[in-house]
């Protein structure tokens, strides 16, 4: 399934077992994440929020990956770009809006952690903090726990290609190899780490080329193709669940927006390059595919957009109106109570 990324505009649905309703739901998830994300950029420009780190451009691989899991059963240890992934696991636009506004009632951290640092026990999302790649050893540990406990859970951990330069990535995957762990490590390669291009991170052409050194399986997929991503991830998840060990999946994608609200990407890449990638946008490509399958037309697209706009509007309004965390929240107990000792 070699995909020439330079010409890829199509969707590869080889081996897809999803029904029409699920396909449409996946499209809706992608659009919903995109519109929510765009709204948050606007809020930042308006000076209403402190910071935003965006998932725009990565929706294809993320929704594909989420739908390849047993959602709510498997664990996900995600990184800051995974808005579409998180929404697909059950986080709501309101949850995310509460986080970006830093308001009371924010469910992942009580607004004590930055937005986009996903964590939900209920949704099976392990906590992820800011130092990149630290989630890889933790995910290996969670996978070890699943294996020791003998349950059939799989752990999916995500990170960017730049973050694979950290020792944590190597050490974590080496563990996964040695202990034959039910782990899928998904690297979202958008060819930049802030301003630094991928060739300054590694001297091999693909992140997945490193899989053999860990003794685990490796796969490369077009991350802007939601169905191809789903397929590759499903295979990796099945491999993990059936006791055959870990997989390193590399999804080739692109971030058509600045790294974060603190970045100006015009300093390190051309507008032509960005425009070229936008033509291969995951949502556009999926939309074309769904039209061709007769599942979407102009009316249906407009209806989805309208439904999403309403949900984003409501989340935005509710979060903006919500109170700030009360002062006593600073004193949230750092230690667990010792009443069980």
């Amino acid at each position: 399934m070699a995909t020439d990324l330079q010409t890829a505009h199509q969707i590869d649905d080889t081996g897809i077992d999803l029904d029409d309703q699920t396909l449409l739901e996946m499209y809706w998830q992608m659009v919903r994440a995109r519109r929510l994300d765009e709204r948050v950029w606007i809020l930042h420009r308006q000076g209403k929020i402190a910071f935003h780190i965006s998932g725009i451009g990565h929706e294809g691989v993320q929704v594909g990956a989420a739908y390849a899991m047993r959602r709510g059963h498997d664990y996900a240890s995600l990184y800051y770009r995974d808005l579409a992934f998180s929404l697909s696991l059950g986080l709501t636009p309101l949850d995310f809006m509460l986080a970006v506004f830093g308001k009371a009632g924010e469910p992942t951290s009580g607004s004590r952690q930055m937005p986009s640092h996903w964590s939900s026990r209920k949704l099976g999302m392990l906590s992820s903090s800011s130092p990149v790649a630290t989630q890889v050893p933790q995910a290996a540990g969670a996978a070890l726990a699943c294996k020791l406990r003998g349950d059939d859970r799989v752990v999916i951990v995500t990170l960017g290609e730049g973050s694979t330069s950290e020792g944590d990535f190597y050490e974590g995957l080496n563990w996964a190899g040695v202990h034959q762990l039910p782990l899928v490590c998904l690297v979202q390669n958008n060819i930049y780490a802030i301003s630094v291009p991928v060739h300054l991170q590694m001297a091999v052409p693909n992140v997945a080329d490193r899989a053999p050194m860990f003794g685990i399986a490796g796969a490369i997929v077009d991350g802007n193709d939601v169905l191809a991503s789903y397929c590759v991830m499903r295979e990796a998840v099945e491999r993990a669940r059936s006791g055959q060990g870990a997989t390193l999946v590399e999804a080739k994608t692109y971030r058509p927006v600045p790294h974060s609200s603190d970045d100006d990407d015009r300093t390190y890449r051309s507008r032509d390059e960005v425009e070229e990638w936008k033509k291969r946008d995951a949502i556009l490509r999926f939309q074309v595919y769904l039209r061709e399958r007769g599942l979407l037309d102009d009316d249906a697209i407009a209806e989805i957009e309208e439904r999403v706009r309403q949900e984003v509007d409501e989340a935005h309004a509710a979060a903006e109106a919500a109170p700030y965390p009360p002062p006593e929240d600073t004193l949230f107990p750092v230690f667990a109570p010792d009443d069980r000792v």
């Binding site: 402190a50 910071f51 830093g102 308001k103 951290s109 607004s111 004590r112 952690q113 930055m114 937005p115 640092h117 903090s129 800011s130 130092p131 990149v132 790649a133 730049g162 973050s163 330069s165 950290e166 020792g167 944590d168 780490a193 802030i194 301003s195 630094v196 300054l200 991170q201 590694m202 300093t267 390190y268 700030y324 965390p325 002062p327 929240d329 600073t330 004193l331 949230f332 750092v334």
Partner: protein
């Protein structure tokens, strides 16, 4: 040569540029130091000026940045490595405290490690607990490593230049919210400040405030408020946590007999604990009140603006502590 008012950012840039021009062995490496010009734009323009050989964007790998700096220093170069925030220096702790700090001693002085690791510190920018702490004290715990904590542009320039020329490893800690602060700084390319010398930043007879980094700003604001109530604070800026120069503190304390230590560190095992212990050791008979500490609250620094503010020191908290030690 006349002193010009410049920002801390400009002072750091000037120090780096001058030392790179002066000594070919000096080179810069770190994440985003090249094309992007540094996380806080301190090395903007350096890639064009000095080329890729001496300004290197590295992979995202703090342990390698610090470890490679140790190796390059042992092999005769003078690396200036950048770690985006001191909170990520934890990923490189072994290279910094187990190696940079110990190599000279452990191997009988055969190798010195003339490196500088520049990093930023501090909260107040809503970046959460894994970006925003000010854990400089941890690094000052270890003999063999100098820890610089400048609070003005003047100090930043003179201290960074001295750090680069020194044969010892220096962790050079810049406060991320203070880079735009301005003060007059000499243009002289040989302007150096001595390593390990603290500085009296304000004169006063009623209380000694010992501080560094961002604490200088909070303490100065507090001193102005206190002056309105007739309390004159003397502010000692440590500038270095190691070597730690407490002589001016002792001198001041003999006069004021009262001391408040202000820092952004967490409240346990911090500079305040050290200063209080040393004061009772050396000047017990001069003590008229317990030494008070103003520090961050004992929690991981929270994200939401209001509760982050609560968790950090402030001029109000300093005023309150000073009033407690001066009584009345």
């Amino acid at each position: 040569m006349a002193d010009r008012p410049i920002t801390i950012r400009e002072a750091l840039s000037a120090a780096l540029r001058e030392e790179m021009q002066r000594d070919e062995r000096v080179f810069i490496m770190g994440e985003e130091v090249g094309v992007w010009g540094g996380t806080y734009a301190v090395t903007r323009g350096f890639l064009d000026e000095f080329g890729e050989k001496r300004v290197r964007d590295t992979p995202i790998a703090e342990m390698v940045i610090a470890g490679a700096a140790v190796g390059a220093a042992m092999a005769g170069l003078r690396p200036v490595a950048e770690i985006m925030t001191i909170n990520f220096a934890f990923l490189a702790l072994d290279a910094i405290v187990n190696h940079a700090a110990k190599v000279r001693y452990m191997f009988n002085g055969q190798f010195t490690v003339p490196l500088v690791i520049r990093t930023t510190t501090g909260g107040g920018k809503q970046l959460g607990a894994t970006h925003s702490h000010a854990p400089e004290v941890i690094f000052a715990h270890f003999p063999g490593l100098y820890v610089a904590v400048p609070g003005t542009a003047y100090d930043a320039k003179g201290m960074l230049k001295a750090s680069i020329r020194d044969d010892n490893p220096v962790l050079f800690v810049e406060h991320s919210t203070m880079l735009q602060r301005r003060s007059p700084v000499p243009d002289d390319p040989d302007f150096l400040l001595p390593i390990g010398k603290s500085d009296v930043k304000r004169r006063g007879d009623d209380v000694t405030i010992v501080t560094f980094g961002k604490g200088l700003e909070w303490s100065t604001a507090a001193a102005e408020t206190l002056a309105q109530d007739g309390i004159e604070a003397e502010i000692i800026d440590l500038r270095w946590l190691r070597p730690l120069d407490l002589e001016p503190v002792f001198e001041s304390f003999k006069k004021t007999n009262r001391c408040v230590v202000v820092e952004e560190s967490l409240p346990m095992f911090n500079v305040g604990a050290e200063v209080a212990a040393r004061l009772q050791d050396e000047l017990f008979d001069y003590m008229d009140a317990p030494v008070k500490r103003v520090a961050a609250m004992d929690v991981p620094l929270p994200y939401a603006a209001e509760i982050e503010r609560m968790a950090l020191p402030s001029p109000e908290k300093i005023v309150k502590a000073v009033k407690e030690v001066v009584g009345g």
